[in-house]
């Protein structure tokens, strides 16, 4: 069944022209930091390598000691890595690894909120029954609750078995999917596009095959649910799930006992696609992940690649990027507000209509700079696509002059409304320790009393130059998250005001012809520019072997990109840490004990975008 295996496509240049050093392994970390020193002192021989790589703390640990190490870094007061941000794995089949090393490697991203530190832990896997196709590694679910879903994802997409995981099922792909799609021996899949139908051409052998029989199967009751209670299926087609999310809800009367989200109805294979596209080509795909904030997605991806490349971005480009990212935050939060109010408070479409009025004005601004409303691809590797058009600044000034007044209007409509308060206060409560343990980020974290914002605490893209407040609420309920998001919009306006005041002149993208295109006018006079243009468009640029994790504060939370480069022009492993994915994990905890109607409130309050959850 489902034999979707077209010819292997070479996106690289002709074989033979390639540098003989490709593919190459990422170099081992060098030097040491206080944290790695402490860990090496404690674990000694069990740490294979430790130090700094691309400015990040990296630890390579033996798989037997992984759980012990994770427990140690969490509990040791001098380290206090209290949150697990992300788990993924790398299939190193095509890398020149020594024979004794494991094919699969698990990657963990840990965060210390108190000490503002980030730690990457890598560990090889062990082979179950000596079978190299069955990699296994100890699960960290006992240490960090936030590992449960990312580990399920790594199992689903890469087939890494996490021993001791409480609930190791597929999470994105259908249950009967025949393989683990992100493994390197599995082709990208897809269909050859027949422009002319010439029968018998083997090029079209996959045409029309990529389809499952469109029969609906009886849903499987998730483990831990009791069929004595009422099992209610909500979604994937449901007006209040904000997309194609399916929730299996176990009910006793109208009280929710358990919720099991079923994801993957919008799984689009972003990671696999990214691993077959050149670095510069994946920018366009990032737009389509969190389609409510494409600018932020571009921003995070470009920052990650620029970190690998080690390029400095011109001042003007940085300020333009900040303006765009903050406008995007406002537009995303506006849309969240509209849909949330529509779901919850019974004011119907009114607020939705008002917020889209402002959102359309923001989209107009995007259209002005790049010609697109949603799929912008404006922020590119090395800067931005084009300079701001002349009318942009004055139009933006007009908009931000009126925005705070509009925010006041919305607050007048809902903030102290009795229905709104009744439906949000005390609903979906997450305590501080729960929020940290589950690896929640963004407003979900700040609504639970954790004073953390990547823009302020680990500044990127020039955010250290702006003065803004990070709103924090301690109640941990839906109302607290609502207040946080409203205040974030006001702070975004402040950031944009400062950025406009300090917008410098200069280049809007880096003047390095190896990574950014030469200006069009130069092509007419310079042969060298033409060659650079041709090489960039046909081959892209190569990135030195290495790995990087880069997280930015998107409107939903921490949007992280993990990239491993093997020295070629295509990322070897590209993993996206979608904030909605990790935040959605909390829905079960938030909804238990409340009524069914509160599940809808919780979905709205989590602010999910399914394109990012499923990727």
């Amino acid at each position: 069944m489902l034999n979707v295996s077209p010819r292997y496509r070479e996106y690289e240049t002709l074989p033979g022209i390639n540098d003989p050093s490709i593919p190459a392994l990422a170099p081992l970390p060098e030097g040491e930091s206080e944290d790695t020193k402490l860990i090496v002192e404690r674990f000694g021989e069990d740490i294979l390598a430790a130090g700094l790589h691309n400015g990040q703390q990296v630890i390579y640990v033996k798989p037997e000691k992984l759980v012990e190490l994770a427990t140690f870094v969490r509990d040791e007061p001098a380290l206090a890595y209290e949150a697990l941000i992300d788990v993924t794995a790398i299939d190193r089949l095509k890398l020149p690894i020594p024979v004794e090393e494991a094919r699969f490697q698990a990657v963990y991203q840990l965060r210390s909120y108190a000490r503002k530190q980030h730690l990457m832990i890598l560990s090889g896997t062990q082979n179950e029954d000596g079978n190299a196709d069955k990699p296994t590694i100890s699960s960290l679910a006992e240490v960090f609750e936030g590992a449960i879903w990312p580990e399920r994802e790594a199992y689903d997409l890469l087939g890494v078995n996490f021993a001791g995981h409480p609930d190791l099922r597929r999470i994105l792909m259908p249950n009967h999917w025949p393989y683990h799609p992100l493994r390197k021996n599995i082709p990208l899949g897809g269909e050859e596009v027949p422009f002319t139908l010439t029968w018998g051409d083997p090029e079209f052998e996959t045409f029309g095959k990529q389809i499952l029989p469109a029969e609906s199967v009886n849903p499987v009751v998730p483990p831990g649910m009791d069929t004595q209670n009422l099992i209610l299926n909500m979604g994937p087609h449901h007006p209040s799930t904000h997309g194609v999310l399916r929730l299996v809800v176990e009910l006793d009367g109208e009280t929710v006992i358990n919720v099991d989200p079923d994801l993957g109805y919008l799984h689009s294979g972003f990671e696999k696609t990214g691993e077959s596209k050149r670095y510069k080509d994946f920018v366009y795909y990032t737009d389509r992940m969190d389609y409510l904030s494409p600018m932020s997605n571009n921003f995070g991806y470009c920052l990650a690649v620029e970190k690998l490349l080690g390029v400095e971005i011109p001042e003007r480009a940085q300020v333009i990027r900040v303006i765009m990212a903050e406008l995007q935050r406002i537009s995303s939060h506006l849309f969240w507000l509209g849909t949330h109010v529509m779901d919850v408070s019974g004011t119907g479409m009114a607020v939705m209509m008002y917020v889209t009025r402002e959102r359309e004005r923001i989209l107009d601004l995007f259209e002005m700079v790049c010609g697109a409303r949603l799929t912008v691809s404006y922020i590119r590797i090395g800067g931005v696509w084009k300079d701001l058009p002349p009318a942009f600044i004055s139009t933006l000034r007009d908009l931000i002059a009126v925005l705070p007044r509009y925010f006041d209007d919305y607050e007048d409509m809902v903030t102290s409304g009795p229905v709104w308060q009744e439906r949000l206060e005390g609903i979906g409560v997450l305590t501080r320790s729960e929020a940290i343990g589950m690896g929640l980020t963004g407003p979900m974290l700040r609504g639970s009393g954790v004073d953390w914002d990547l823009r302020r605490d680990m500044p990127y893209g020039g955010y250290e130059n702006y003065d803004f407040k990070v709103p924090v609420e301690t109640a941990g309920d839906c109302y607290a998250r609502y207040l946080v998001r409203i205040e974030e919009m006001r702070q975004s306006v402040r950031i944009i005001e400062q950025a406009l005041k300090n917008l410098p002149d200069g280049l809007f993208r880096v003047d390095d012809r190896k990574i950014s295109l030469p200006p069009r006018a130069e092509l007419d006079v310079s042969m060298e520019a033409l060659i650079h243009h041709f090489k960039l468009m046909t081959e892209g640029f190569r990135v030195a072997p290495g790995m990087v994790y880069y997280g930015i504060e998107s409107s939903k939370g921490e949007l992280g990109y993990f990239i491993e480069s093997d020295g070629s022009a295509v990322p070897y492993r590209l993993h996206v840490r979608g904030p909605s994915f990790n935040n959605l994990y909390a829905i079960s905890k938030m909804s238990r004990g409340h009524t069914l109607s509160d599940v809808v409130t919780n979905i709205g309050s989590t602010d999910i975008v399914l394109g990012e959850v499923d990727r």
Binding site: I186, P236, P239, G243, S268, G269, R373, G611
Partner: protein
């Protein structure tokens, strides 16, 4: 001459078919069903600036039983395909489908293991809208095209459609074999 002369003022005559088509074309209720990025533009088409209600399509119905039009707004994942098929089957005749955006029309940039290359592999499509995503104006234009199509429909067509049972079986899905069979 004819009937019009004998009728009092203010009474028009027309064929029943055109009357029915007029009614259908001017109150096509879409299904409240969003998939991906295009759904955001579909929502934008419903809000104040673009105002889809000028064309009588502002009532997005959450139940397929009450909807006439399915706007497939976004990429169709393998896991979602059976669901879309089922929702389409639940809609009552007459029903129409707009494939909004390149992903729903032909897979778009996602030619990979996860995405079905066009929703027309599982359900019949009336209007394809290009764009990634199409602007709200493009969706309104597609509705216009659909209205033109609706205006030309006849009762005989419905009868035929009923007989043919527009349900698609797995073996009917457009594949190389079926195309070869048709060509032979």
């Amino acid at each position: 001459m004819g009937l019009e002369d004998k009728l009092p003022e203010g009474v028009l005559t027309t064929s029943l078919e055109s009357l029915v088509n007029w009614g259908r074309a001017n109150s096509t209720w879409p299904l409240l069903f969003g998939l991906a990025c295009c759904a955001m533009e579909m929502i934008a088409a419903g809000t104040a600036r673009h105002d889809i209600s000028r064309f009588g399509s502002e009532l997005f119905r959450a139940s397929p039983r009450q909807a006439d039009l399915m706007i497939v707004s976004g990429r169709v994942a393998n896991k979602m395909a059976p669901v879309i098929k089922r929702i389409y089957d639940q809609m009552l005749e007459p029903k129409w489908v707009i494939a909004m955006g390149i992903c729903a029309s032909a897979g778009g940039p996602f030619n990979n293991y996860a995405i079905i290359q066009g929703v027309d592999k599982i359900i019949p499509v009336d209007v394809y809208v290009p764009g990634c995503p199409p602007r709200p104006e493009a969706l309104l234009f597609a509705l216009d095209k659909l209205r033109a199509k609706q205006g030309k429909e006849t009762f005989a067509q419905y009868k035929r459609a009923e007989l043919a049972q527009a349900f698609l079986r797995p073996e009917d899905i457009e594949s190389l074999e079926t195309l070869q069979k048709q060509a032979a």
